[in-house]
């Protein structure tokens, strides 16, 4: 009898206090959807009540059904024979439970049989699913594919595919990576050609490391413009599983064993062009990847939560020197830091999803309203949230996924030799976590994606908003510490901008993004402490812990040391 929603008071606090009213209002078209669909919410309170109820159901499925099956799924994994992938019977049961709970089209509009929930709610589900079985998230978390068709596909494509996604009849995969195109997707080679007579598109080539490559519906990035070699020659296609689309093999991986990662061969696979030609990478895949990055942040957070809980439980039960080991400072210090990391990652993730929800709400208005109806306010907000979501998404992914690695690492440490054994869950969490800071863009690439927004101060407005909240006493003193960091951050940015050295800029980008994260999350912690004073100790611990790390980053940036740039070759080759 476990419920991963009701047993997680931080998650419940987040839903209750994260103000989604504006985003939900936009999504439900000012609640006019309620007139057409009898399950659509009538107002924000009604919507919030729906979300709580649904999350409690998913929390129960995760705790009671999925979690107990996860070890067997990890040990046995999917079966591959004759170019056919068969998921583990327990994975199939998991998917069936989620299908029956009607959460295969969480974000899809009501009219296509979806729940029209904001990405924030979907992300909370993916966090819980990942806490139960990280590999299942790779299947459940593919709803961004349907979401991409919903956003960019034609009306016929939406009608053709979305209802099938919503019922769980079809699943999806996003086929981007190729043997020679990983981080550098501009170099994708899989060829799309069009029959001049019929106008039918066909796909030819290879894709590699495709999560759930055995899916029924594929979103494929392909080169539609012959003679091009960059991102502007790529378009996005929808292809359905067929004999010409061959699953050549599935990979043997360190973790996320429950899901098949496939190598695919396209032999003139018939396909539909999705959206406009040449915008495949620049517009659609970027959007798809941003959605997927949020999902992976949640996957990582779920693993971190699971790891922390196992560590905490073990440390309270394990006795050495006649005491439970969580009474030793070295151990409780680790547990405290682990918990703070989990809380920090969650605070940033849901602040991010809130911005993503507002972005999609205003973007939707931009696309559907006439020129006349588009007020300056809507235009400004669309621009603003594009910018904010653009910087928070990679910041959150970097933080969550590195956190998952650190916390699962420490969870093994707390278990000692026992944790190294397959008998306990923590070794699985450690293996599962390892992919999160690699796929959907490595942490290094998240830094590249975030640094522009950090330099141009995309978060500045929100930071000022949080700084102006009515703190007093301890919280005021903590806020002053953040103000100090904020000054140093602006100083470091000034330094790096004036230096005009692109190699140095790239080298220090991670420090600047880390510093931004400390400031931003510190303020989120303060904001939350104002709403619930039992969280004051959390804000205090987070901010005091970040001071010295922050200063180290700052000193590295303004230190101006270029010896790595000058000597790295010599050192590497020594």
């Amino acid at each position: 009898m476990a419920n991963f929603y009701t047993d997680n008071k931080d998650l419940q606090f987040t839903l209750k206090n994260l103000d989604l009213a504006e985003a939900v209002g936009l999504r439900e078209k000012n609640y006019s959807e309620a007139e057409k669909f009898d399950h659509a919410p009538k107002n924000y309170a009604d919507a919030l009540d729906n979300y709580q109820r649904i999350l409690a159901v998913i929390g129960e499925i995760c705790g009671d059904n999925i979690d107990p099956r996860s070890r067997t799924v990890d040990e046995e994994g999917p079966h591959f024979e004759n170019n056919t992938v068969t998921y583990h019977p327990l994975t199939q049961k998991n998917l069936n439970d989620l299908k029956q709970a009607d959460v295969m089209g969480v974000m899809l509009p009501h009219q296509y049989g979806g729940l029209n929930c904001p990405v924030t709610i979907y992300t909370m589900m993916t966090e819980m699913v990942s806490r139960a079985d990280a590999s299942l998230q790779n299947l459940f978390g593919l709803q961004d594919i349907a979401e991409t068709i919903s956003e960019f596909g034609s009306d016929e494509q939406k009608a053709q595919f979305l209802p099938r996604f919503a019922t769980g009849e079809v699943d999806g995969s996003m086929d981007l990576t190729e043997p020679d195109s990983g981080s550098d997707l501009q170099s994708v080679r899989l060829k799309a050609w069009q029959d001049p007579k019929t106008g039918q598109w066909y796909l030819n080539g290879m894709k590699r490391f495709i999560t759930n490559g055995c899916a029924k519906v594929h979103l494929v990035l392909a080169r539609s413009e012959e003679g091009t070699s960059d991102g502007r020659g790529l378009s996005m296609f929808i292809a359905e599983a067929c004999p010409q689309l061959v699953v050549r093999r599935i990979e043997h991986k360190l973790g996320i064993h429950g899901v098949a990662t496939a190598e695919l061969q396209y032999n003139d696979v018939p396909a539909l062009l999705c959206g406009q030609r040449r915008r495949g990478l620049t517009r659609y895949v970027m959007s798809l990847m941003n959605g997927a990055r949020v999902a992976i942040s949640a996957q990582a957070l779920g693993i971190a939560e699971a790891s922390f809980r196992e560590a905490r439980k073990y440390a309270s039960e394990r006795e050495q020197f006649k005491r439970s080991i969580d009474q030793f400072p070295a151990v409780y210090d680790m547990l405290t830091r682990m918990k703070m990391k989990v809380l920090a990652a969650r605070a940033l993730l849901y602040e991010t999803t809130r911005a993503v929800d507002l972005r999609s709400g205003y973007n939707h208005l931009m696309e559907t309203l006439s020129e006349k109806e588009l007020t300056q306010e809507i235009r400004d907000k669309a621009k603003y949230y594009n910018r904010v979501a653009g910087v928070l998404t990679p910041m959150s992914k970097a933080l969550s996924t590195e956190t998952a690695n650190e916390v699962s690492y420490d969870a093994i440490q707390i278990h000692g030799g026992t944790g190294y054994m397959k008998d306990f869950n923590v070794e699985r969490y450690y293996r599962d976590a390892r992919i999160t800071n690699i796929y959907e863009g490595t942490t290094q690439l998240q830094i590249v994606a975030a640094i522009g927004g950090v330099i141009t101060r995309a978060n500045e407005e929100r930071i000022k908003e949080f700084m102006a909240l009515p703190y007093d006493g301890k919280l005021l003193r903590l806020k002053d510490k953040i103000s100090e960091m904020h000054k140093l951050q602006l100083d470091a940015i000034k330094y790096i901008t004036e230096k005009k050295d692109s190699a140095y800029y790239d080298l220090q980008a991670h420090n600047l993004v880390t510093m931004e994260t400390y400031i931003f999350v510190g303020l989120l912690m303060l904001r939350d402490a104002l709403k619930d004073n039992s969280r004051e100790v959390l804000a205090e611990r987070y901010i005091l812990d970040s001071v010295s790390d922050f200063k180290k980053c700052y000193m590295e940036v303004v230190g101006g040391d270029v010896s790595t740039i000058d000597n790295h070759r010599v050192i590497i080759d020594f």
Binding site: M1, H39, R53, V57, A101, D102, V103
Partner: protein, 298 residues
């Protein structure tokens, strides 16, 4: 919708997850200290009904007898896929034993009208009698098969079902209509998100009236209009009293219950000592003698 399947369910105190003071000093169950839940095997019965709906097409009607707040288990049934719900509630039903309960339920079933199957959970976790299902079948004069694991076949005239017996199973055939009691041999489906979003607004008449009272408004006619609106939307939970189902009040509730609880003891196991028995012929022999002496054996 070729079949009509009635499922009778019960809201029970959660005796499996006891927190706090579960028993009152007089030895009766302290219901207020225990969360009210859907009786587990009734969920299995509902699941079986929903599987029949998936397989053969059926209208699933869920009924319960209980206080007004038992409507919660009915909403929970709607979240899983039930089509209609009936709350049987009346002060005169209170204090019923299995005889009075099965009588009230039989009146309810008759009022529902034509049905092909009635499914009940084998037993409720608060009373553990397993009598209500069989007694209900007797009162309705229909055949019954108890301890059902699964339905093998259903057609217009008969049902073939598999039931658990000690050390194995039996496959039985029965004409319709029939009553089955179901054991925990299936996994009840989860509540479905969209159904939750819709049916959380399902109301009984008294819940509707209560909403009105809160709004400082009591107009019977207006209430009837709103009841009709809910009915049109499929959101009305039928609420029937003893009179509605034509029950003889002498046979319901405490008045209709010959069972009298003479005494209840709260048994607290206080074993403290352990005793080691040597794993030898001698040790076993001594143990057997000891058990015969204190009448545990023989």
């Amino acid at each position: 919708m070729s079949y009509t399947v009635i499922v009778f369910v019960k809201q029970v105190p959660d005796t499996q997850n006891i927190t706090g003071e579960a028993m009152k000093p007089d030895g009766t169950v302290n219901r207020s200290a225990l969360p009210a839940i859907f009786n587990p095997e009734d969920l299995n019965a509902l699941e079986l009904a929903l599987q029949l709906k998936d397989r053969y097409g059926a209208k699933v009607v869920v009924g319960t007898m209980g206080p007004p707040n038992a409507a919660e288990v009915l909403r929970s049934s709607l979240y899983r896929g039930a089509d209609e719900c009936v709350l049987l509630t009346d002060r005169s039903f209170a204090g019923a034993d299995t005889l009075a309960t099965s009588y009230a339920l039989s009146c309810c079933a008759s009022k529902i009208g034509k049905f092909d199957l009635i499914l009940c959970g084998r037993q409720a976790i608060d009373g553990d009698t397993a009598q209500v299902g069989p007694q209900l079948a007797e009162k309705l004069k229909i055949p019954q098969i108890c301890y059902i694991e699964e339905v093998i076949k259903l057609d217009k005239k008969k049902i073939v079902a598999k039931r658990a017996i000690e050390g194995g199973y039996e496959i039985l055939e029965s004409p319709l209509p029939a009553l089955l009691t179901v054991i925990d041999s299936n996994v009840p489906r989860p509540q479905a998100a969209r159904k939750i979003m819709k049916y959380k607004n399902a109301r009984t008449r008294s819940e509707l009236a209560k909403d009105h009272a809160n709004a400082n408004y009591t107009d019977a006619e207006q209430l009837a209009v709103e009841e009709e609106v809910l009915k049109q939307k499929g959101l009305l939970i039928y609420e029937w009293s003893a009179d509605d189902v034509g029950a003889d009040k002498g046979r319901t509730g405490l008045a209709g219950s010959p069972t009298k609880v003479k005494n209840i003891m709260s048994v607290v196991l206080t074993a403290t000592d352990t005793k080691k028995i040597e794993p030898s012929e001698e040790g076993i022999k001594n143990l057997v003698h000891e058990l015969i002496d204190d009448h545990t054996l023989g």
